[in-house]
């Protein structure tokens, strides 16, 4: 006899079971977030300890929590030289990962990331203009010419996509295609620049596109951190609506969300995050794609956990990348963009393939 049991479980549990299950789920996620934060702190300490002058973890902790108890040399190296770089890794990792997470969410596409939408490519083009031909889009202090060029081009790319996606009949698939078109346009322009530029300028452009944390300074760090700290609460405010976007536009609309308006607002916010990150450290491609996927595997897609989770995962990956870039070849700091791709992608493939449940 067909009872419907094979289609819908018919045995009824007590209603309180649902609440208990949910509370356990929330607790588990809070613990995962705490574990990620702890891992991040450890990675930061290791990152600080490594370099031409090596410090023990004890010395690093002492310098962090009671700077007056360590030598002047240790204090200067750790706080003035290494700290901005190590913290920049966290801020940039978090920014790129959050940008990727929200692009994937609003575009319903697992491949969306600052890369896919051409924002990184735009930034590279802006930087290349300055490096190869000394083109200055906005006059600024020497230290900021390249980041500002990169930032302006990244934002122009974002606004171009924004403007095109406002047109009637443009679907989310079209937005992704527009992004890919941008990537190809900028890649061609980059090739053109490299064709005309001097040998020396070509090396500078290539080095920039590999991504490097070494140019981080305290002022740059404060700017990147300020943007991240401003954008995160603005995204969190839309937490429930963004989670609903993953159920599809029709469902989200039926729950009172305005998908079009939300998509455009979030696109602008995350473009800002990605543009700032890329402007200061160059193109680091892998974080914006993978950070959110790892967060999704660990925490699901409720934005109350997914958003901080993506930030923590991105920060952790880049921080570990920073450690590896110093230890893989002693005495040489390999550009971070190479490390994250080389080490991170096999790890990511392992995670995706070993996961029994569908992650998208």
């Amino acid at each position: 006899m067909h009872t419907g049991a094979d289609i819908l479980p018919s045995e009824q549990s007590a209603p309180e079971e649902g609440r208990t299950f949910y509370r356990t789920l929330v607790l588990r996620r809070q613990l995962i977030l705490a574990a990620l934060a702890l891992a991040l702190f450890l990675s930061l300490c290791v990152d600080l300890a490594l370099g031409p002058a090596r410090f023990s973890l004890g010395e690093v902790l002492a310098a962090l929590f009671s700077p007056d108890d360590v030598s002047l040399q240790a204090r200067v190296i750790l706080w003035e030289i290494r700290m901005p770089v190590a913290l920049m890794a966290l801020v940039v990792g978090a920014s790129l990962s959050v940008a990727g997470a929200q692009m994937q969410t609003i575009l319903s596409n697992p491949l969306a990331s600052p890369f896919t939408l051409g924002i990184s490519a735009g930034a590279s083009f802006g930087a290349a203009l300055a490096l190869a031909f000394g083109v200055v889009i906005v006059p600024a202090a020497v230290d900021y010419v390249i980041p500002i060029n990169a930032f302006v081009m990244a934002m122009l790319t974002a606004f171009a996509i924004h403007a095109l996606s406002m047109r009637r009949g443009v679907t989310i698939e079209t937005i992704v295609l527009l992004g890919i078109a941008m990537v190809f346009i900028f890649n061609s322009l980059m090739a053109l620049i490299q064709f005309f530029a001097s040998q020396q300028a070509v090396s500078a452009v290539v080095f920039w596109t590999m991504g490097s944390l070494t140019k981080a300074t305290w002022p740059k760090l404060w700017i990147a951190l300020g943007v991240l700290a401003t954008v995160m609460p603005l995204l969190a405010r839309h937490g429930w609506a963004l989670t609903a976007m993953r159920l599809g536009d029709a469902k989200a609309e039926s729950l009172g969300v305005k998908p079009r308006a939300l998509r455009l607002e979030v696109l602008v916010l995350v473009s800002l995050l990605a543009a700032i990150a890329v402007a200061f450290v160059g193109t680091i491609g892998f974080i914006g794609l993978v950070g959110p996927h790892i967060a999704r595997l660990l925490l699901g897609e409720d934005q109350r956990f997914f958003l901080p989770g993506s930030a923590l995962c991105g920060a952790l990956i880049l921080s570990i990348g920073s450690v590896l870039s110093k230890v893989l070849i002693p005495g040489t700091v390999i550009p971070i963009g190479i490390i994250t791709s080389l080490v991170g992608i096999p790890f990511f493939l392992f995670l995706v393939l070993s996961n029994k449940k569908a992650s998208w």
Partner: protein, 249 residues
Amino acid sequence: MVTLTLDGLSASYGRRRILSEITTPPLEGGQVVAVLGPNAAGKSTLFRRIFGLLDGGGTVCLEGATSERPVAYMPQETGVNAVLTVYESVLLARMQGRRLNVKPEDLAEVDRALDELGIVALGERDIGDLSGGQRQMVGAAQALVQNPEVLLLDEPTSALDLHRQIQLLSILRRLAKERGMLVIAALHDLGHALRFTDQALVLQNGTLVNCGPTEEVVTPELLYRVYHVTARIERCSKGRPQLIVEEAV
């Protein structure tokens, strides 16, 4: 109790007019209203227009509503694979427009909605793992958890097996009576409409061709004119009207 009246309602997609001049008598809470009509008659558009997702002429007049968001709408199911459990996806429907922190009463409402529909056991499952019918029941729970005064359901039984169709429609009928809720559902099964609904609106080519008590509206003449089938309606031994369809013309 809530009363919904449609007055000269119309809607267009671009230049194509989908609905024109839909005017109904006041539809009162405590009833189940069927929206009937062949494919592409404008049923889904009517729901979207009532819910405010489409602009157009005419007015939707809702009187007697006491809550801030009195209308809930369940669109036709589209399959998605978000990494969320059923419990989370129902909670999500309740929390829209609210603060991020979840209160115990929100969890109690989720439990109540799942319990009403008999799908408590699905709570821990990922929504991506569900069958079409299960998704549809979850969709109904997402609408119910909002405690609506008017519930708009676009083909809520299309993916359900017979057991679940009867179960869902019985539950909706009971909840309408108990809570004074107005349930408006698009249905394709006219037998179900006759059995479970009080009123019926019949759409054809975007216009309202008939509305009133379901038993008076669903007649062999209407079936011939709107659905192009010959049919008769007879009463069974329990006195319920039964639809017997003979052939398509």
